[in-house]
Structures are given as structure tokens and as C-alpha cells.
Subunit: 138 residues, 4 copies
Amino acid sequence: MGKLVRFSVSIDEGLINAFDALSQDMGYTNRSEAIRDAMRHRMVRREWEAGDEVAGVIMLLYDHHRAGLSETLTEIQHHALDEIISTTHVHVDADNCLEFVAVRGESHAIERLADRLISLKGVKHGALTGTSTGKRIV
Amino acid sequence: MGKLVRFSVSIDEGLINAFDALSQDMGYTNRSEAIRDAMRHRMVRREWEAGDEVAGVIMLLYDHHRAGLSETLTEIQHHALDEIISTTHVHVDADNCLEFVAVRGESHAIERLADRLISLKGVKHGALTGTSTGKRIV
Amino acid sequence: MGKLVRFSVSIDEGLINAFDALSQDMGYTNRSEAIRDAMRHRMVRREWEAGDEVAGVIMLLYDHHRAGLSETLTEIQHHALDEIISTTHVHVDADNCLEFVAVRGESHAIERLADRLISLKGVKHGALTGTSTGKRIV
Amino acid sequence: MGKLVRFSVSIDEGLINAFDALSQDMGYTNRSEAIRDAMRHRMVRREWEAGDEVAGVIMLLYDHHRAGLSETLTEIQHHALDEIISTTHVHVDADNCLEFVAVRGESHAIERLADRLISLKGVKHGALTGTSTGKRIV
């Protein structure tokens, strides 16, 4: 946390009332925090578009009975040590696994890694979700 | 435009600097306007999820040589007069047409109408983009 | 429409049954068309990421009482004649207007144009929705 | 894996060539797998909209120096034992933490849990990413 600055915003009464109602509905107890989150949300998207250093998670749903898949997943991840922080594995049922690969690095390199993992035969569904490293987004 | 209210927000110095840089990059000349837009963006998404009265556009890319397609598109639209405001047609090249159907109504009814148009044989690509009617979002 | 080719796909019985049920629910009367649409959907996203020539619509919701806004919107659009095909204007109520700007051009140029229009003071909400020109996506 | 069925699809030559090029670029070595993935992608979105039993990950970026935040995060998670499978914690730098909460349950309950966690003061950015439990999506 750096230095706090305070500034004022002028907003139409109808807009701020509607925003407050929505924020409360989403669980916010504080208007400033809801506004800061709306601002940060926009900034994360831009960090990804700009090719900045970012963080995120690659989620993979797969059937672990598929021959060779677990080995290939492990092999690819071991060649991406620079980007991968850790991997969590969850057993969904007798067949299905969920794997969450925490990643960090240049946004386009992470997108390529995600493409490569998601396109493997046996991976039923996958998605990359991006966030920030939090350095610029305080 | 209703009554303007003015309130203050406290924000970490690093966050507001990063937000100002992004806003300038996006063309904003005014910090308050960038903040209001980030707030409104969030509210539009919720209006759609809540099944409120909303507005939007259904975009359709299709090949007008496909037999019967233009007639079917027209026929479906004439049975959705309550939701459809107007339709704009653009000739992309000798084969491809773009159609923009301006819509207004309950969000889930509009989603069903979009599904129906987009799923037609000959429609190559389609998308529904939502906005607000602007009543609650000032 | 070019030459049709026919090829076979092998799919788990459970997957194709679930996909057929979803397709029917979305209004598809034909499995091949539902599969082609799922394929095209993926390709449109890539055309945009790759900076290809694309098409789309910029949707703007604004209050026409805002001094100078209509003029600025018109002015910017007249300086983007290469990208803008046509503009449709819809009166939502006494205050709110919806404008749909049909665009075509290099994807990143269109994104910058959309940013510039959406960031204007008085534009309450805006969104860019992308599609293809239909040349590569048959 | 259930029984495999084989069926044929007819597709315009230009479309299948463009799709093959994209698939190769994304790392697919097999056309059928690229087509199955495009189909599954669509189905996951519908499971979420329909309120089915789904799975996913809630990603949270936060500053662990924020007083009381870690305790509140833990407290909320302990009251959502039905939905939460496991939590992975990653140290991004001296200040920033990334937490990945693996979840499973009815889609709208998971959305509410995500809202509640993301709206906490000190959580800088958060996102919910949905996938399937893999039961219907083979």
C-alpha cells in the first residue's frame, strides 16, 4: 500500500444510487471499494492486451484414463518452468480431473502455453483466466 | 440528467496514477468520466443478468445467396415486433451481408430471439451485444 | 459458397447426445450447421487477435441533450470514413439514443476508433462487437 | 469414455481449410479433437446459464498486509464447505498473494460465493472461471 490520495467525483444522483444498490447486492460494504474494483477491473484487461507481465490460472478438465495424457501434461509443464508457479489437482469423480496451473509471465507467452495445454487430446475443456501481478494495481 | 452529487473517494496514489494513464490512452480527457464509465459498465452486465428491460444489437453475417434465408430472417423478425426497433443492412461484398438488428425488451426474450436468428442455416456468424435502455444508467 | 467437402468425425456418444440437445434448444434444426457454427465462432475471435481485416459494430448509448456530443460524434466519424460503413440511430426515449456504427477494417484500428467514441463524455455505455468480413469464413 | 460414434459432416472447402490452419496454430494435431473442443466450449457456457451442477475456480489477488482480510477469506470459505474443494495460495511478491479456490456446485450459488469473496476490501482483483464437472461433457 502506498500513499492514499483523496479526490472528489461528481456523479448524477440516479447513477450513484443505482451503483450503490448494485454494489450492496454484490456484497460491497463500502462505496469507495466498489469504485476502486470497477477501476481495477478495467486495468487488468489492458495489462493483458499490452503484453505486460501478468499472472493468472490455466484451468484444465480432463479424463485421467486417457492414455499418455497425464505424462504429456507434466512434460509440457516442466518445459515452462519460467511461467508456471504451481499446479493444483482436484479429483472430480472416478474419471474427471480438474487441474489449476498458476502462471506468471509475459501475457502472450502465457496465452501460447494455455493454447498448448487446452488443445491436447483428452483435455475436455480449458480456460485461461487473467489477473495482474498486483504491482501496478494497488 | 438529474441532480449532480459530489463525493470523495480515497485511492492509493499508485492506483490512481495507473488508472489515469490507462484512461488517457483510451481517449478520456476527464478522470470523473472514466470512473463513471467503469461504474456503468458493471451495471449494464447486471441489468442483463437480472432479466430487466434492456437494449442491444443482434449482429448477423450471412451469405444472401443461401436459398430462403433472407425470407426466413424477415419472417422471424416480423414475429418479434415487440423486441425489434429497426434493422440495418450492409453489403460487405458480392456474397456477404451484415445485418444489425436493434432490439429492446426483457433480456431473456432478446437472448432467445438472438439464438433463433444466429442458429439459422446460412448465418455464418452472429452475436448479441447488450446495453442498457439508459433509464437507470444516467 | 465454394466446393463442399465431406469428412467424418468420431465422437463419444454421450458428447454428441448432449450437443444435439443443446443445439435443438438453441434453435438448430441441423447438426452439421451447429458444428460449423461452433467452428466459425472460434475463427472470428482469432481474426480479431491477428489484426486481420474484420467487420463489426460499435454500439453507443448516449444522452443527446449533452451539449456538443452529437457534433463530436459526427466529427470523429467523418474522420474515420475508411472504417465506417454506415450509422443507424435509434431514439430510445426522450433522452436516450442508441447509435450503431457498422465498421470494417484492420482490427486494431477499429478497436482504437471504438475506444475514442466510447470514452466521450455523455456516452453512457458503449461496446464493440466483432465479426468477420466473411471472406475466409465460409 | 463411452461408446464412440462416427458421423460425417459436410463443410465448405474454404471453411475447413481455414479451421485446420487455426487449429494447427493453436497446437491441435488432430482435426476431430479441434472440432470436439469447439463443441464442448459451447456446452460449458450453457451448463452455467442453466444453473446446472458445474465446477470452476475463483481467483483472488490481494494484499495480505490488509488487516483482517486473510481471516475473513478463511471465515467465508469455511461457511461454503459444500462448494469449495480446495484452496491454493501463491506468494507473488512481498505484498501480493494469489489464491485459487477450486469450486463445485450449482452455478448460481458459486456465482454468489465469488461475488462475496471478490467484493472484500483488500481483494484487488478477482474472477470466476467456469468449467463443467465433465459428467455430461465427455
